[in-house]
Symmetry: C2
Subunit: 190 residues, 2 copies
């Protein structure tokens, strides 16, 4: 059931780094994105795969984690992602990528969850430095980084309160709480 | 298996219009989007649901279909969508919606396919006229329209040729062909 996959597909930011993710798994996840919709069928997205420690470190160094958790700098060693998929836009195909990378990222993460993995879409990226670290040619624009691994944190969905505060937070047991707006607040009666 | 859902989830543009889609089904599909990821967890998307003929017609009148099929103006009566989900961005929450609507749209369409339905993300919209037809307040921006129904067309995936032509086309049997770039052309060896 898709609902089950979507419920399990939380944004995980702490992983068991000793659980490796193979290149073959990453390719299978990109295959899910490849067969997903693309505006005008242009398919302007390209992918960089990483599952080796040195490359992972290059990527990790250029990411910012969980903006609302002011006293947390991101996962510590041992709890960092085992793999990454960097989604690029190819400017030689188009300059406007619409929501293609959202469609692709959702397919990839649902596929990860189905394989007992999990991850997080990260948009807060030092793009200039990551381009230089990975020697990404100028024709490509970094759209999103997907961090992947075996999650070791518990994430629960709460209902957003009447004040509409949607900032996620962690309780004393390190359980990560994510307030979601209610269905009746997002479906308009128009 | 997710791969099966994704393979079945083609962009369908011809439907059996006599098969209705209930409001409850549309709400279940938005529930899938509600529980999906959102940048900074802001959840700025709002949804308009339509499954009645008059409202469907208002929406249909403001859509453009299948840009590459120059001799096809869109589905004829009897083959039009039975329902729509209009995805809006709420400017009172943020002015930048990132790829949230791609994530949401993918969840919605995979959910539709799981229910034996199918559909198409449509970005070519007469936004000004649709806003006025549906009385959409100024704070909302139309991001995407998802057309939904019981598909009556066959859509097949082809491998894009060496010339990289990705324009979809219809053969004499009205089978819709969609050329996709090969996995090795979208995974970069960086």
């Amino acid at each position: 059931m898709l609902m089950e996959l979507i419920e399990k597909n939380r944004s995980y930011r702490r992983f068991d780094e000793s659980c490796k993710v193979s290149l073959e798994t990453l390719r299978q996840l990109v295959e899910l994105a490849r067969l997903s919709a693309s505006g005008g069928n242009l398919q302007p997205l390209k992918y960089i795969l990483s599952c080796r420690s040195e490359k992972n470190e290059l990527i990790f160094a250029n990411l910012s984690w969980a903006g609302y958790l002011k006293d947390w700098d991101g996962p510590s060693e041992g709890e960092r992602p085992s793999a990454y998929i960097v989604i690029l836009g190819d400017n030689q195909i188009t300059q406007s990528f619409g929501c293609d990378y959202g469609i692709a990222a959702q397919s990839i993460l649902l596929g990860a969850v189905e394989r007992g993995l999990g991850g997080c879409m990260i948009g807060s990226i030092n793009r200039a430095k990551l381009c230089s670290s990975l020697n990404i040619p100028e024709r490509y624009e970094i759209l999103l980084v997907i961090a992947l691994g075996k999650p070791v944190e518990k994430v629960v969905i709460d209902e957003a309160g009447p004040d509409g505060d949607i900032k996620y937070w962690r309780d004393e047991q390190s359980i990560h709480h994510v307030p979601k707006r209610a269905l009746d607040d997002i479906v308009l009666g128009l």
